[in-house]
């Protein structure tokens, strides 16, 4: 078991989320909005989709050293081993049995001819792909989907046996929708995984690597950027925000000066400058980064750090404004006149009352960070080129749009997965905001 930096932080984050949810469930003013989220259909459906992504991301975050090849691989790599081992020579379309480009091949009659060769793995079990392929795909898809359905039903059955009665009592339309989504996701995913034994369901890329595998690996990068950045940004934003609002005077002046300075530097340029520096540092200290994976991981972490530094100012300003309002409220005045020390007031009285703003902004930021990753990778100031990420996939496939026939699958796969994740995140963010924003909550 090898714990990379980002792995460790991810698990800390998961722990922190779990702890904060249990804590929130104890407080009635948090329990009510949380209950409201569970009643919202779109909220629950998008939450299920997000959790599925998170599940894959977590699987991909457990790294260990493979005993055979001595490579550092993750659990996801372990499960997807057939996919990684079955690489073709170059591009091939989804479900294709032939390579994308022509080659000199030896035909059945023993003569050399200039034609599309068969793939080494994709559809290799077929004798006559032209006629057999689609019926074969359909029957295999049906089998895979059927098995997926059975698997999902089994899971439900176990779930039902464990907490059946409680579930039946709270069987609301939203729960039903969520369960249905989960059911569909499991079945479809199982179907794709099943089909991957025989075909490249999303084609292969330039060096013949399976695109489906690449998109799955990219999920972790997207999630890491979306979540760890928040982890980096929160201490800065919360600490400075409430301190500026509460102490005012010179503290406020200094903090405002700091965030105006940071804000006035164009974000992309600051990121670019920092990433350039890291590159130079890594080039000069190559001995500290033993493997490619460790180096890519450090760069990913650093990207999160720098994104956090550039993005805390917005939340900080909001928290400052809210604290300015709160400190004039009666309960804070009362605490002050009773002689409660200032740090205690900050932690006991101010902090809990701005938490809803923090929560809303964290969820809202997630989707824009995932989108930002793709753009940054495109300008080469994002994640390491060896890291699997949607940005890198898009960047690699972009130039192939000029080819004829068009190589569309890498791009489409990256966009589709990114779209699903971001859409789910956006919808969930809306639900969270509607539930927690006091101004919206009044309207029902």
């Amino acid at each position: 078991m090898i714990v990379l930096w980002t792995d460790g932080l991810i698990f800390i984050l998961v722990l922190a989320i779990a702890v904060s949810i249990t804590l929130m469930l104890r407080k009635p003013h948090f329990k009510r909005p949380l209950a409201k989220i569970t009643q919202s259909k779109t909220g629950m459906v998008s939450l299920v989709v997000l959790l599925c992504f998170a599940g894959i991301g977590l699987l991909d975050s457990v790294h260990y050293k493979d005993s055979k090849t001595q490579d550092i691989i993750s659990l996801l790599d372990h499960f997807a081993r057939p996919l990684t081992e079955r690489s073709e020579k170059t591009y091939s379309a989804p479900f294709s049995a032939y390579l994308y480009s022509k080659e000199m091949i030896i035909g059945e009659d023993g003569l050399e001819k200039w034609d599309y060769p068969r793939l080494k793995y994709g559809g290799a079990h077929l004798n006559n792909p032209e006629q057999e392929k689609w019926p074969d795909i359909l029957s295999k898809a049906a089998t895979g989907f059927g098995k997926g359905v059975v698997l999902a039903l089994l899971l439900y059955l176990i779930f039902w046996m464990i907490c059946g009665r409680k579930l039946a009592e709270s069987f609301r339309p939203a729960t039903k929708a969520a369960l249905l989504t989960l059911f569909l996701v499991i079945s479809l995913f199982y179907m794709l995984a099943y089909l991957s034994h025989w075909y490249h369901v999303l084609g292969t890329d330039k060096v013949g690597e399976d695109v489906f595998y690449q998109t799955l690996k990219s999920i972790r990068t997207g999630l890491v950027i979306g979540t760890l950045t928040t982890l980096m940004m929160l201490p800065l934003a919360i600490g400075f925000g409430i301190m500026a609002g509460f102490f005012r005077g010179w503290v406020d002046d200094v903090i405002q000066f700091v965030y105006t300075t940071l804000n006035s530097i164009p974000g992309v340029l600051l990121i670019a400058a920092s990433i350039l520096m890291v590159q130079v540092y890594m080039a000069n200290h190559a001995e500290q980064f033993t493997s490619v994976l460790v180096r890519a991981d450090m760069r990913l972490l650093f990207l999160c750090l720098i994104l956090g530094v550039t993005s805390w100012t917005g939340l900080c300003r909001m928290l400052r404004a809210e604290t300015l309002k709160l400190r004039e409220m009666e309960f804070v005045q009362a605490a002050e006149s009773l002689g409660v020390t200032r740090p205690t007031i900050l932690i006991r009285h101010i902090l809990p009352n701005v938490m809803h703003i923090v929560l809303i902004s964290v969820v809202l930021d997630f989707s824009s960070l995932v989108l930002a990753e793709a753009v940054l990778s495109y300008i080469n100031i994002g994640v390491d080129p060896t890291t699997y990420s949607w940005g890198n996939m898009i960047n690699g496939a972009r130039l192939e749009m000029a080819r004829d026939p068009v190589v569309w699958w890498s791009l489409s796969a990256a966009f589709l997965f990114m779209f699903t994740l971001v859409l789910a995140a956006n919808l969930f963010a809306d639900t969270v905001r509607n539930a927690f924003d006091p101004r919206r909550a009044e309207h029902g």
Binding site: F257, T260, T261, N263, S264, I265, P266, V268, L269, L270, A272, A273, S274, L276, M277, Q279, V280, Y281, N284, S367, L371, A374, V375, Y378, I379, N380, I381, W390, I394, R398, M401, A402, V406, L411, F415, M418, F419, V422, L423, N426, L427, D430
Partner: protein, 325 residues
Amino acid sequence: MIQYIIRRVAYAIPLLLAVNILTFVLFFVVNSPDDMARMQLGQKHVTEQAINNWKHQHGYDLPLLWNAEQSGLEKLRQTIFYQKSIGLFLFDFGISDSGRNIGHDISERMWPSLALALPSLIVGLLVNITVALMMVLFRNSYLELGTIVLCVILMSISSLFYIIGGQFFIGKILKLVPISGYDSGFSAIKFLILPIIISVISGLGAGARWYRTLFLEEVEKDYVRTARAKGLSEVQVLFRHVLKNAMIPILTGVVVVLPLLFMGSLIMESFFSIPGLGSYTIDAINRQDFAIVRSMVFLGSVLYILGLLMTDISYTWVDPRVRLS
């Protein structure tokens, strides 16, 4: 008013100084001028002499912050920090690491950037506000619901998708406009149409939703009810009263980005090969040309601070209650 502006300009100086120190630390302390020289000249087979020549040529052969060999004020002045910063403050950007005059490049490349960014902003603003007003006009109907769903979908799609998709379908398959490139004068229009359309569409989802919340907040206020009670139609209420009052938050968002339009859009310009400041910056980043990146950071900060000042002044125009002091 004048006094206020003077004070704000004075406040800008420490800000810019801080920006400068920050970028200086980022660029020079983490990697020394030696590293930079090696990067520019290539990692292998570089003689000590070549590095020293390069450093001397670009003015990097001085100590970083403190020159102990000189006396008096010269101790501070004969340093890389002082020499490079003073040039920036006088808007004399010097020469880039690859030997070009940055100031000249900027003044030349600013116009294509502006030609793309300004129409994108104006058209985008008009479209966003129109869609938002429509949503407010038809609120609580299926039309509104449909538009909201569309907005969420639009804002969930990566901007790269709009660009690549747009170039592919409109440029390559339909052949309506050239895929990329630029031309001087009015013939640039055919190159600019597609990027403008794409930037409007990619900003529509988030923009329209944001303006909708602004308008909805206004719609519930008392003066709107009074206007309706006077017998004004809903359209009149929206355009004559709500829009006017929602101008303040709209202005905050727009005026602050106005000066930054000069900087151009990094992504759009490099995808459509428009020779603006955005693609200039990207090229510099990819070539690891620190002198250009540093100048652009400084320019960006100046323009941002200018934007903040303009926002404050514009408040006094739209809102008579605001007095600057």
